[in-house]
């Protein structure tokens, strides 16, 4: 997945919330999504998150490789999507439960996966290793040329 950060009014990063979305090169985009489930295992269902207060009590702490959700496609294949950012999981997109197709049709808007708030101390570090969309495109193109993929 690719992470997009939310900016404040004047393009300055006061907000620092991360909106987790599907990468525009993810194989899922070529498939038809049938269902999205935020239930990782018996004890962990992110739709049951009850987050309250400014300090976001009740949120789930996630690491870059924490599992976020399972996506099932028409052809039976199942994909696991990951958090990619270290921080507090504040919200998952419950609209995906009722309209799973949004994940592929509106992956950069209504089809977002989750909202993660990086820890204050982590803010800079958490976002540093991420790439700006243009840089990501450049690198992606280089990799694809080398491997001769399209």
């Amino acid at each position: 997945a690719v992470v997009s950060t939310q900016s404040g009014h004047y393009g300055r990063d006061h907000n620092k919330l991360c909106l987790i979305m599907l990468s525009d090169r993810h194989p899922l985009l070529k498939k038809r999504v049938v269902s999205v489930s935020y239930k990782i295992n018996e004890n962990c269902d992110f739709t049951k998150l009850n987050v309250s207060g400014k300090k976001k009590r009740g949120s789930q702490f996630m690491g870059p490789t924490s599992r976020l959700c399972h996506v099932t496609c028409e052809d039976g294949s199942v994909f696991t999507l990951y958090a990619c950012v270290r921080g507090k999981l504040i919200e998952v997109n419950t609209n995906l439960m009722t309209q799973p197709h949004l994940l592929t049709s509106k992956c950069f808007s209504e089809g977002y996966l989750a909202v993660i708030q990086p820890k204050k101390e982590d803010e800079k570090a958490a976002l540093e290793h991420l790439l700006l969309p243009d840089t990501y495109k450049e690198i992606r193109e280089k990799v694809e040329k080398t491997l001769d993929l399209t």
Binding site: H9, N15, L19, V51, K54, E91
Partner: protein, 376 residues
């Protein structure tokens, strides 16, 4: 020490109090003292006796034992036993230092008014990042409290308004109600002076104006905060749609009455607010297309009118730019109602029109709270 008059003994403290109170009262400005906010004047007097020559008590007719000069009881006994003696002739004035301080305690008083903000680059309250970097040139609060603080010489003026608008949103119409809590003011302005102060405030910044500045009571101020989430507010905004809209769709939109939205806390404020879903009502909606000349002016702001693509841009934008007048419940996030906030505010203008929408400009057209109350 005691003051002895016609056979009566008065505690020194009381005598001093009585003497001074009358004199003090005479010196105070009657108008200030009678004002409802006046609480009290505290005069703190400390008399520190530096020398205490009491050796005369050891001699006749008192004959106090030198070892017992520190015992008040023994001195009193000696004085009582020598009744008839003219004590005054024996008394020596002790050395002393006088430390005084006067503090005037005044209840806070309240001023109410309404403000208009015509700029998209001024915040309502001062905005600092990391406690030192000021993000905007000035704020409505600073414009209003500046002249007042200078004239009143106060400790503190706090501004409370009925709701807020974003920096890039103008406050028009009858203005937003606010009140000021003034603590420790050195002066009480007269009605005329208040009017002068209002004029002075209006000269500070061309984009911030206030009106109806007058005294209000503490009870009155509750109305301002209570109205925040309940009273209706009117807005006007410019909406841009991704695909052109038909007249029918416009009519459909305009027939919206009391539409209930489910608004999740907008992403742009989620980092500092509680995640909640709030039901909010859009009371009414009234939209029209931007006229062709308005579109030309808008497009001209982004590109040169002689540009060959100009006409194409004007054509592309016709039936995609709307001016909307919205009346909604207090506390509704209008920007999110228009663009949908990634589907976290539903329904939204996007779902109502079946296309993505963005909000280009927003103004608050009015706040329907009668304020300030007429002065008594």
């Amino acid at each position: 020490p005691l003051l002895i008059g016609q056979g009566a003994m008065l505690p020194f403290k009381d005598a001093l109090k009585w003497l001074l109170s009358n004199q003090l009262e005479g010196k105070l400005d009657k108008r200030q003292v009678r004002h409802p906010t006046f609480k009290d004047v505290t005069v703190d007097i400390r008399l520190r006796f530096t020398t205490s020559d009491l050796t005369w008590l050891t001699e006749p007719p008192f004959n106090v034992n030198p070892n017992e000069l520190h015992r008040t009881v023994k001195i009193l006994q000696a004085i009582n036993h020598s009744n008839g003696t003219n004590l005054r002739s024996y008394l020596r004035s002790p050395g002393y230092t006088l430390i005084t301080s006067i503090s005037i305690c005044r209840e806070p008083f309240y001023l109410g008014g309404r403000y208009c903000k015509l700029s998209r680059r001024i915040s309502q309250t001062p905005w600092f990042v990391d406690d030192d970097k000021q993000m905007v040139d000035t704020s409505v609060e600073e414009v209003i409290t500046g002249p007042l603080q200078r004239y009143l010489g106060t400790d503190d003026i706090r501004m409370h308004a009925s709701g807020r608008e974003d920096i890039d949103v103008r406050m028009l119409g009858n203005g937003r109600p606010f009140y000021l809590q003034v603590t420790g003011s050195r002066k009480i302005p007269t009605a005329t002076k208040l009017s002068e102060l209002q004029d002075e405030i209006n000269k500070v910044h061309e984009c911030v104006t206030i009106h109806s500045l007058r005294f209000v009571t503490q009870n009155d101020t509750d109305q301002v905060k209570n109205a925040q989430d309940s009273k209706e507010k009117e807005y006007q905004c410019v909406i841009k749609t991704e695909t052109p809209i038909t007249e029918d769709q416009l009519q459909q939109l305009n027939s919206t009455r009391n539409l209930v939205l489910e608004q999740k806390t907008p992403l742009r404020v989620l980092h500092r607010r509680s995640p909640l879903t709030r039901p909010k009502t859009i009371v009414s909606l009234s939209c029209r297309f931007l006229t062709e000349s308005e579109i030309r002016t808008a497009v001209a702001q982004t590109t040169d009118t002689t540009n060959e693509d100009f006409e194409q841009m004007v054509k592309d934008n016709s039936h995609r730019l709307l001016v909307a007048h919205i009346t909604s419940e207090g506390g509704t996030y209008i920007k999110e109602f228009v663009h949908g906030d990634f589907g976290r505010t539903v329904p939204n203008v996007g779902t109502l029109l079946g296309t993505s929408c963005d909000i280009l400009q927003l103004d608050v057209a009015g706040v329907s709270l009668p304020w300030p109350p007429p002065s008594s």
